[in-house]
């Protein structure tokens, strides 16, 4: 197993390398003079020249890339112009908040999605199945930012059950209960779409598995239906579900951008949008590379989980 994990980690190196190339190339697309783009139209020529030198933009593209890559590898993502602070510090702080939000949403959507899908498949064409199918359809069709706004309106403004926005109370203790009450609405809003997708997939994977011969074997030996569904069928269905969980984690991370804006959550997504509007290119570059790298690592964890579940995968 350790060998397999190591092998997967090594295989991630070219992917990580590719990510930096792609991000670098996209940034190289910036029309005109990047320094002017960054500093704005009213920048003095001296400032522009200085920035060009700082960024190494007076050198050929390939050389620029390797300088940038070398800096990243030692943890130097440059300095944000708008915030006047090292990019990495800002990203790490913001990523922490995103991780809390997206992580909670991911756990929620995995649990709700799988349970809903299993219940739906086990009662195919029954009332529960139809109800779940309808809710799921609604869930995957509603834009998460709109849902978030409606949740604020209903649960926070009308019912006053939760705070309207933010991660911490402005006054008062920053303890767990404060975090949970601030986290509930955004995490739910973020989880809804992925819950729908996972529920759908779980349902069809379960239906596929339930027709297999080994399910009939389980029934023939007298395993109670609960065990047939939750032990035999779900375990086999997980082989199809786990990769989708990995993909959905990416969607949750993506959706977090909207939710962070709607709920004013101090995460990395809101940071990126602000940075784009302020043309804070280095912050965008650093944030994107950092989050994408984390996502790659996460997907390795998904692969490892898959290999632990399925003994037929050669490790």
């Amino acid at each position: 197993m350790a060998g397999y994990i190591l092998k997967r980690l090594l295989s991630a190196i070219p992917v990580l390398f590719g990510i930096t190339v792609i991000v670098f190339l996209i940034m190289a697309l910036i029309p005109g003079d990047p320094a002017t783009a960054i500093l704005g139209a009213y920048a003095t020529p001296e400032n522009v020249a200085k920035l060009n030198r700082d960024l190494g933009l007076d050198k050929p593209l390939a050389q620029q890339y390797f300088i940038w890559l070398g800096n990243i590898l030692i943890g130097d993502f440059g300095t944000s112009f708008a915030l006047n602070r090292p990019v990495l510090d800002e990203v790490l702080e913001r990523f922490n908040a995103t991780l809390i939000l997206a992580g909670t949403a991911f756990v929620l959507c995995s649990i709700f999605g799988i349970v809903a899908g299993v219940v739906s498949a086990a009662n195919q064409y029954g009332l529960g199945d139809k109800a779940i199918t309808f809710v799921v359809l609604l869930g995957i069709s509603i834009p998460s930012f709109f849902l978030g706004m409606m949740m604020i309106l209903f649960f926070a403004v009308n019912l006053r059950m939760f705070p309207v926005s933010g991660m911490w109370p402005i006054y008062g203790a920053r303890d767990l209960s404060a975090l949970i009450s601030h986290l509930t609405l955004p995490a739910l809003a973020l989880a809804v779409v992925a819950t729908g997708v996972i529920a759908r997939l779980t349902r069809s994977a379960m239906l596929e598995v339930l027709r297999q011969d080994y399910i009939r074997t389980a029934r023939a030996k007298g395993v109670p239906e609960r065990g047939v569904i939750w032990r035999h069928a779900l375990k086999a269905a997980m082989v199809a579900i786990i990769p989708v969980l990995g993909i959905q984690a990416g969607f949750v991370l993506s959706g977090a951008v909207y939710i962070e804006i709607v709920f004013q959550w101090p995460g990395v997504g809101r940071m990126l949008v602000d940075a784009i509007l302020k043309r804070d290119i280095l912050l965008v570059q650093g944030g994107v590379v950092f989050v994408a790298a984390c996502y790659v690592i996460f997907n390795i964890a998904v692969d490892v989980a898959q290999s632990m579940l399925d003994p037929r995968i050669k490790t």
Binding site: I142, F145, A218, R219
Partner: protein
Amino acid sequence: MIAFLRLLSRNRLALAGGIVMLCVVLLALIAPLLPLADPDVTNTAHRFKTPFTEGALLGTDHLGRDLLARLLWGTRLSLMVGFAAAMIAATIGAAIGIIAGYFGGRTDNLIMRGVDMLMAFPYILLALAIVAALGPGLFNALIAVATVNIPFFARNIRGVTVGIAHREFVDAARLSGMSDARIILTEILPNVVPVIVIAMSTTIGWMILETAGLSFLGLGSQPPQADLGSMLGEARSALITNPYTSVVPGVMILIIVMAINLLGDGVRDALDPRLKSGALSRPMAATLVNRTGPVPEPKGNGLLEVQDLETQFHVKNRVYKAIDGVSLHVKPGECLGIIGESGSGKSVTALSVMGLVASPPGVITGGAVRYDGTDLIGAPYKHLREMRGKNVAYIFQDPLATLHPLYKVGDQLIEAIRSHYSISSAEGRKKAIDLLRAVRIPNPEKRISDYPHEMSGGMRQRVGIAMALANDPDIIIADEPTTALDVTVQAQILALLDDLRKTRGLAIVFITHDFGVVAQLCDRVAVMYAGRIVEEGPTKAILDAPMHPYTARLMACVPELGEGKRRLEAIPGLPPVVDNLPTGCAFAERCHKSQTACRGSDIALVFDTGRAVRCLFPDNPNAEAAQ
């Protein structure tokens, strides 16, 4: 195409989605012709008029602009952008996918590596990076959304192309000297278009959402121009005071995306042949029972008694009579063989006993199955469950498919016991090892933690047998347990079963298509054809002198143990389809002795001195014996 549309329209949800979508698109198209207020004219004197007020059906926004007009113009913009993004992504993605799939090798490798890299990003990061580089704006948002969706199309289309690129008609085109470009355009493209359509129909909703999302973030359409996303984004600041300004564009997005999703699902279902036949129904815990006729009285024949059993498959409007009035019985310690071609109903008979026929589509429509006198058909599920494995156990064909691939064989054995008795894990382990030893698996202490795929076919089937023995059942129903095995292993397994029967006093019902197996193991045999028993009697008597012409044919074909495969071609013709049986003898089509009388009316199973036969002109056993 027409068939496709008909299929699509039969799906009511898809139809509803299609109609809604049509209305939305029409409204968006004719928006310029409608008597609407100018969507961009601000009028601060009339800010935040609530809906249904004079002159503003949906109210006005924070700048006093008419919301209805903005909604329709915004919808127009959102649909256009989403559709354009889908088209661009589909075109470029398909081109990349076709090139990678068609040329293969190095090209393929290089392209797919790049695609994988792009897919390693959470999609919005890539979109944000592109917008960051190009600057905010609707057109740039469109490019960003299209770009992040290209890998999805490329990968899908490549997969399909690879499948087509090596088919005969492509090879033929190549040999005839057509250029690659022409082959791609005339041979490959027409075949991948349906896949492109499916992929588009399932992603266009997403693309509308994504562009709306970017606009919502302020990175898409810029004021005063507004799509649905930026309307929602602008309304956000007034969310609490004037929620309707948010609700109007938000609900519109919801309606559009939902309609597209419904339509997309419908398109996929209509184009995916697997779903067409309704094959994706899950079997229920026990076969449905719907007996219309009276339940036969018990006759007290043996331990297990099947009486006039009828099991049917109801598929759409058609009824397949898989078995039609089958009666059998087996005594303790006895082995009964059921023999017939595939489709004769022998497996359905076996599975009906414990309600294991997949349902839907299976329905038991008549007869009774008595275990020790009590009827099991229509018994509550709980009762049936308790008897499964404990009183009547099954051994199935092909243990690779019938053992759970993700559990160790030991755990599957222990579970069989634990489903009926609560025992500790240590006890369970000990019993599992004993069971493996009983079926002569060498080194059971180690084998217990093997997964099924780590064992040989013969060993796996031994596990299958051990599992059937786990709770000391009285009856084992073995459904072609040796068919998937090679001849020597087959013989070993048969010897093992025979041994177990003798030492444990088991009753065995043995389903097979192989007379060699019957000869070796069974005391009595029943021959099935088209869902009915056509001959029954002691094995020796039937082997010596078959009375039914079908039995004679079946025997003539397989003299040797284990060579069952060739038998099918040896009998001329095919068994009749059981949803449309001819009147009279079902075998008449293939029978060399058939006469007009045979096709007249139903032929009864006639009993005589311990044997039974369903034939008007049976071979005379005594005459043949005399020869």
